[in-house]
C-alpha cells in the first residue's frame, strides 16, 4: 500500500510526477508540524496557516530534495524558518493581548526550562550518592511515592526510610553546594 511507503520513497515518486503522493506526506506530517509550529508562534490559527505554507513551500521545492537524506528534517527546517518569518512579519502588528498571552506562555516555558535544568543537576548529583540514598530520593521526589510505599518497595521500616531520606538530602545538599 502507498501509505506504508517511506517518506523518501514518496518524495521520489513525487519527483517522478506523482503529484497526489504528496497527500500522504501532508496527512503524515500536518499534526506533528502543527504542534511544532504552535510551540513557536503560540497561536493555533497562525500555526495552521504556517503549516499550510510549510507544506506548500516544501512541495514547491521538492524536486530539489535529496532522497538519500531524511525528508522530515528538511520539512522541520522549513517549518522553523517559516514560523520565525511569520513572527517577524507579525512583530509590528501584534496586539497587546497577544503579547500578554505570549509573555505568560513564555514565562511558563522558562519556568519549565529552569525546572528541567534543576532536575538534571539533581540527577547528576545523585549519581555521586550511595545507591540506597539515591534510590530513596528517586522514589520519593521523582516517582512521588510515600514513605509507606517506599518502605514496602525496599522492604525497610518506615522510620529507616525517613532517616535515610534525611541523610540523603543532607548529602545531596553538600554535593550540590
Amino acid at each position: 500500500m502507498t501509505t506504508e511507503r517511506t517518506d523518501e520513497a514518496l518524495v521520489s515518486k513525487i519527483q517522478q510526477g506523482d503529484v497526489l503522493a504528496f497527500e500522504i506526506l501532508v496527512k503524515r506530517y500536518q499534526r506533528r508540524l502543527f504542534s511544532f509550529v504552535f510551540r513557536i508562534v503560540y497561536d493555533a490559527h497562525a500555526a495552521e496557516e504556517v503549516v499550510q505554507d510549510v507544506l506548500f513551500g516544501a512541495y514547491k521545492t521538492i524536486h530539489r530534495v535529496d532522497t538519500t537524506k531524511k525528508f522530515s528534517s528538511y520539512l522541520f527546517v522549513i517549518a522553523k524558518n517559516t514560523a520565525i518569518s511569520y513572527l517577524r512579519r507579525k512583530k509590528h502588528t501584534v496586539s497587546l493581548d497577544v503579547i500578554e498571552e505570549q509573555a505568560t506562555d513564555e514565562e511558563t516555558f522558562y519556568e519549565n526550562l529552569v525546572e528541567a535544568e534543576q532536575k538534571h543537576r539533581v540527577k547528576e548529583a545523585m549519581n555521586q550518592l550511595e545507591d540506597t540514598y539515591s534510590r530513596i530520593i528517586t522514589l520519593y521526589y521523582f516517582d512521588d511515592l510515600s514513605y509507606e510505599e517506599i518502605s514496602r518497595k525496599l522492604k525497610l521500616p518506615v522510620n529507616t526510610v525517613r532517616t535515610h531520606l534525611l541523610r540523603a538530602k543532607k548529602k545531596l545538599k553538600e554535593v550540590l553546594i
Binding site: 506523482d18 503529484v19 502543527f34 504552535f38 495552521e48
Partner: protein, 131 residues
C-alpha cells in the same frame, strides 16, 4: 492540543500550482519546438526552391546516360552539383531539425513526468470532491 486537517487546502494549492507550472513548461516546450521546427522547414524550403530554380537536380540526369559517359564525367558532375547546392541554407535547416530531435531527446524524461502529472491533475479534478 487542537488537531488540524489542512490536507484539502494544501492539495488544492499544490494542484493549482502544478497546473500553472505544467502549463508554463508545456508552453515553453512547444514554443521552442515550434521555433526550431519552423526555422528548419523554412530554411529547407528556401534551399529546395533555390535548387529547383537553378535546375541543379538536372545535373544528375548524367547518371541516366551511357556507362562510358558516366565514367568520364561523374566526378565533374558531382563537384558542380555540390558547388551549386545552397550549402549554408541546407546546413542551417539540417541543424535546426537536428535541434528538434535533440531537444525532444533531452526532454524525454520531463515529457513523461509532465504527462504523468497531467493524468494526476485530471484524476484530482475528477475525484477531488469525493476524496
Amino acid at each position: 492540543m487542537k488537531t488540524i486537517d489542512v490536507t484539502r487546502l494544501v492539495m488544492d494549492q499544490v494542484v493549482g500550482f502544478e497546473k500553472r507550472r505544467s502549463a508554463w513548461w508545456i508552453g515553453k516546450f512547444l514554443f521552442i519546438l515550434f521555433v526550431l521546427g519552423a526555422l528548419g522547414i523554412w530554411v529547407f524550403w528556401i534551399a529546395v526552391t533555390e535548387i529547383f530554380e537553378r535546375q541543379t537536380l538536372e545535373l544528375l540526369a548524367l547518371f541516366t546516360q551511357d556507362r562510358e559517359i558516366v565514367a568520364q564525367f561523374w566526378q565533374d558532375t558531382i563537384m558542380v552539383f555540390w558547388e551549386e547546392l545552397p550549402q549554408e541554407k541546407l546546413a542551417i535547416g539540417f541543424l535546426a531539425l537536428l535541434g528538434v530531435v535533440i531537444f525532444i531527446f533531452i526532454n524525454r524524461k520531463n515529457i513523461s513526468i509532465i504527462w504523468k502529472k497531467m493524468r494526476q491533475l485530471a484524476k484530482y479534478k475528477e475525484f477531488g470532491n469525493n476524496r
